[in-house]
Point group: C2
Chain length 424, copies 2
Amino acid sequence: MAPKEWYNILPDLPEPVPPMRKPDGSVVKPEELEVLFAKEVVRQEFSQDRWIPIPEEVRNTYLEIGRPTPLIRAKRLEEYLKTPAKIYFKYEGVTPTGSHKVNTALAQAYYHSKEGTERLTTETGAGQWGSALSLATALFDIALRVYMVRISYEQKPYRRIVMETYGAEVVPSPSPYTQVGKKFLEQDPNHPGSLGIAIAEAIEDAVTHENTKYSLGSVLNHVILHQTVIGLEAKKQMEALGEYPDVVIGCVGGGSNYAGLAYPFVYDRLKGGKEVRFVAAEPKSVPSMSKGEYRYDFGDSAGLTPMLKMHTLGHDFVPPKIHAGGLRYHGVAPTLSILINHGIVEPVTYSQEEIFEAGRIFAKTEGIIPAPESDHAVKAAIEEALKAKEEGEERVILFNLSGHGLLDLKGYDDFLHGRLGSHL
Amino acid sequence: MAPKEWYNILPDLPEPVPPMRKPDGSVVKPEELEVLFAKEVVRQEFSQDRWIPIPEEVRNTYLEIGRPTPLIRAKRLEEYLKTPAKIYFKYEGVTPTGSHKVNTALAQAYYHSKEGTERLTTETGAGQWGSALSLATALFDIALRVYMVRISYEQKPYRRIVMETYGAEVVPSPSPYTQVGKKFLEQDPNHPGSLGIAIAEAIEDAVTHENTKYSLGSVLNHVILHQTVIGLEAKKQMEALGEYPDVVIGCVGGGSNYAGLAYPFVYDRLKGGKEVRFVAAEPKSVPSMSKGEYRYDFGDSAGLTPMLKMHTLGHDFVPPKIHAGGLRYHGVAPTLSILINHGIVEPVTYSQEEIFEAGRIFAKTEGIIPAPESDHAVKAAIEEALKAKEEGEERVILFNLSGHGLLDLKGYDDFLHGRLGSHL
């Protein structure tokens, strides 16, 4: 069941991904990215090879962290909904850090260790990505400093402790370790921080320190490439059950967990003419796929990264403080943006109230408490199952349960006790 | 790999388990326990059948929660220790509530649902057992009230939220719902509670309400019986690798996770003459196995339960507030006590400092952050591996990683930042 190659969608897209550009309009050259990223990762970012071998060392770590992850049929949920649909989910929560993020973290850490990188930097909001990279750098023996948005560092200590237990250095951002950080601390010594500032600090740190590089957890092509292990496994697992999905569902922040599950099936539709629908769920309050403009924009809020052509709410958009922290992103992966433009991926939006109710139903019927991000996928799967019931059709639904919610329980508490605030 | 029968050690013990007694010395009759427990569970408690069929419905739920759980070789830990020993661990943390507790919770909830019980009560300290039973009662559609020790209810909200998300009613104990609870609240309206009081409340609630029974998560024979699914799976998994353990290790509170792994191997030693050692780890500050007297004592601290013959520190022993909440128990399962008396199981004790350091090493090498309880098993496994190195022998070590530590991170935080207090 364990794939030996990742799937790269670049050669199969209905139109090419527009190049990354600098603010002056000039095209970013691959070598320019090598200051930050591993060389092999940069090669993958632009590769037109459809299949890219997963190094044996990475495959071994995939096994160690519990891959292939289980594909589970949600029979009790089907019974609860009285639907003729079959609902399957790919459960990424079994990994030690509880989400899919580790799939690319391990690959990136491996390439860095091979290329001799001794130290990595990254940013993290609530801490999912930081935890995954902390685990990966522990296994490949690379030092890591994580710039964690200060308000999360203070209010959500649990993922910080996870990162520190793996041996990472976690600093609240803005920090006194960078020029950018110092500037913000001068303005306000108790600055709450933001993902934009944390990215800026991590990048500055990487370019100003010896043998230090930077690692990113979503949006870019190489990240999505590594995540396709999810969909490739799922396809084999469904095949073994004699099943094929009619609809493939996931939640979208930057897009990597959804693309990871969906792209191997998108390949079947684009190249094999398979009839399969793609539904991508996002928060009503961060509607980058459904309301964002398709244009060039920065990947971060500080305007430091190259510009990407994508659906965006604007890099200065400030997402409201919903519990699904991983979906608080102004943009969408460029490849996913193209698939949306071509009507291949259908975006849907849900409120916080709706997604937590879906999560509660899922926990009661299937026994797993999903991450608030993944609750968006659960909600969309329930909607598709109810539609199948209405239309009296026995459809096969597949969704990505990208992570468990054991480190995000406050949202459920607020929901169960009516403290959620219904406007988001 | 999925066993169809549980293993009951009662007929194979070197001497029979002394009967449960009332404080006046009279023997407790099985029917007397049926006021509290499911009839089938009481039958199992006293059964002399070596193999007891796992009902198909329970086996199905075992599959749904991720059984068989993985048996993993800790290769990176071996390399780190430079030991010739092979270290295997059975990882129970993949279940939705993150520990082995659900193995008996599902069985008990199933029998209750079959016997028409509409409502269950139980007690919980930090919440591991309460979470597992909440999940099980959600799946078998039984109402549940959990009496949660008030200080945990207030200071450790996360497992409470887990239980509530599964639909259980969680009340802080002492509560105004029972006579016992009212009595303690009158003494002190902010009484912090204790496991003893919570047990008393749960039992009073069960016997004073229509169609309500009580469920227990450790110590008794039927609980251990259900946990043997761990060891039976492990045996088949090791067989498939051509391996057999030289030593079987686990941590002991009441004894159910360790007995669950060990008893199927104890059977091989007692009945098949296999040479295999058994090491059981407990906290230095709660040394019930190594320092407890072997005598009749109550199972709870309030003196409400029948008396069991076991190693005990006295039912009025107040365990210090170590982070391994699941090991804060004054007694040891009667069957395990007999095996200790006969030198078959060897107890070892460790300090908090020692076990968290073992946990940190395990997290850095194997990528999983263990529960503080399970850290005792990790520590013992490391000790055995170092002994093998010293003696230059290639031994096979098997231990039970009974749960992950994602809901117990504060202990790691205190350890990493030198706030643990070294006296425990």
